[in-house]
Symmetry: C2
Subunit: 352 residues, 2 copies
């Protein structure tokens, strides 16, 4: 394969397909092993397969593959980066399942959430105990299983060569994910309106967990851990842009686009990055939020009237520029510089 016949975007797609197969092969083997004693043991594994199969943008595997290939990783020896991409996606599945329990969300990827589905099954079968508790318990365990499987898949990568930088980035990524989630909970509980805290949470959860560390893991597998600072700048900027886009979609987007109802954060009065920046910018937004339980439609109206969407679009533009400049200045193959710019735009200007 040469750059002439295969574009970066094509290469990325080919490897992403291998990530899908790596995940489904792993789960199939694991399912067979666990079901040897009792077929019911397959239920939490099937739940993972179903959720992974139901969609998702595969943002983390994409960035991991981009990190590897942009660092000049060998295109003939991609088992490591494929496994790393699979581990990142399976880890993300844990995050989604546990998140949905914590948020009591009813839908995910256009279908009922795992805990909702299992709770309904408990009722339907007339089982003993409380359906709600059963559904949440299975979801907690299925999420734990995904966290473990992510590690089992990644440990292959880590032990295959002396991959200390991969190991370190993987440890950081996971701790940051959980601590970021925790800070998100606390900020919501405290109704913190501190835009710096909201920004830090966005950078941690969306920037580091989603973009920066996956890129660094990919680059480290390619033996180029020195690209880490470049990917940190790119990832942090894009992470903030990613979160702002998320917030804009939640506040102003349509349910059909995301597979989950719009306005969930709004309805829960979650102190999003969008809202904390808007409060700092406009006193009417501040007054409305401080009054307690603002009506979502009224809040949306005031945000539009205060020019918040435009203000945030300009902020996203600046963040994308900053991220892309870092990549353009780094010793990365030009074809991949362009691809990372395209990926930045995908993340920042996506519609769902």
């Amino acid at each position: 394969m040469t750059a002439d016949v295969t574009s970066p975007a094509q290469l990325r797609r080919v490897l992403l397909e291998r990530v899908e197969r790596r995940i489904s092969d792993f789960l199939a083997v694991e399912r067979e092993r666990r079901c040897r004693v009792d077929a019911r043991a397959g239920v939490p594994i099937d739940a993972l397969s179903q959720l992974i199969g139901a969609g998702g943008k595969r943002v983390r595997p994409s960035f991991c593959i981009a990190g590897y290939l942009s660092a000049g990783g060998d295109q003939a020896a991609t088992d490591g980066v494929v496994a790393a991409g699979a581990a990142l996606e399976v880890l993300h599945t844990c995050a989604l399942i546990h998140d949905d329990v914590m948020d009591a969300s009813a839908r995910r990827r256009g279908a009922p959430t795992l805990h909702t589905r299992l709770s309904a099954e408990h009722s339907r079968r007339g089982w003993a105990g409380e359906p709600h508790r059963f559904g949440e318990s299975v979801a907690i365990l299925a999420g734990d299983l995904a966290l473990i499987y992510a590690d089992v898949i990644m440990s292959e990568v880590i032990t295959s060569v002396a991959y200390a930088p991969v190991q370190a980035a993987w440890a950081e990524l996971r701790a940051e994910l959980v601590v970021g989630q925790y800070m998100d909970l606390v900020a919501a509980a405290e109704r913190s309106a501190d835009p710096e805290l909201a920004r830090w949470i966005a950078i941690t959860k969306s920037g580091r967990y989603t973009i920066h560390r996956p890129l660094v893991i990919g680059a480290a597998i390619a033996g180029r851990a020195e690209l880490a600072p470049t990917f940190a700048t790119y990832g942090d900027a894009l992470g903030e842009a990613f979160q702002l886009r998320d917030d804009l979609i939640d506040a102003f987007g349509a349910a059909a686009d995301t597979g989950k109802p719009a306005g969930l954060d709004f309805a829960r009065h979650k102190m999003t990055l969008l809202l904390s920046l808007a409060m700092r910018r406009d006193s009417r937004v501040r007054d409305l939020v401080h009054c307690g339980d603002p009506d979502p439609d009224k809040l949306r109206e005031v945000l539009i009237d205060a020019g918040v969407p435009d203000y945030l679009e300009r902020r996203i533009d600046r963040l994308v520029d900053a991220g892309c400049r870092a990549v353009s200045a780094a010793p990365i193959e030009p074809g991949w510089q362009a691809e990372l710019v395209a990926m930045a735009r995908e993340v920042a200007y996506r519609e769902n």
Copy 2:
């Protein structure tokens, strides 16, 4: 150190103390790192320290150390087995925290459970949202963090030499833990009275997760993975004995001994191994359980009247014998054969 001046039990104690330090050092470093941005990020880490510091029998690190030393592991190079013991205990902390959420347990190790404590703090501070949900969410995240930390600590061991058997046993142990928990949930929901299923769950959760795999990990670190079949026989037998003892303590023990109220499984009509064996043995127990919601005191009375405690004590004796015979027949240093026999008795005849 020679066997003359230091007995197996003493050596085990010395290494267990190092396991404690390994855990507290790890958590201290991690705490410092996470709190650099915001001191609140230390809360889930402090919750882990607190729970680990509140007690526990350290059964899994003990067996891991016993596996290492009984296999002739080098007493001058114990960093690996100490780290493995620490990883096992931190993993167990995840299991306890998530278990307490799933069971809605109020107390653990003589103190309020993590989710109960955080929920109370949420109320006290008058935070936004539902206290109960906040407490459970923090507990889900703290458990996830423990699961990740267990892996971070174990990955040191796995990468320090080519420890494929350690890696394999660690992967099995974690999957079995979660799948065993899941099967436990399902058996309870279905009110399954199948003693074979109950036995399989006991062997998986108590035998493999608690005894067999920790021993195998220890032996594998000592380079003697071929002891696995011996430790499988020992662990499976002792696991069943461990579970029967647990059930006996739950049914007939006192709250003061365990740090949690007795009779929880009874009160919840959980289909324990004890109950499923008793149902098979005695029709009065069967009738009472089948009638729906048996009164715990009445059930206890019938169990005693049917001779179930004595019957189970004899079963425990046979299991201990079988486990000890396997160890005595294996190529293990005699001092450690005796120690493993003593540990079997500790597990099977403990009073709390």
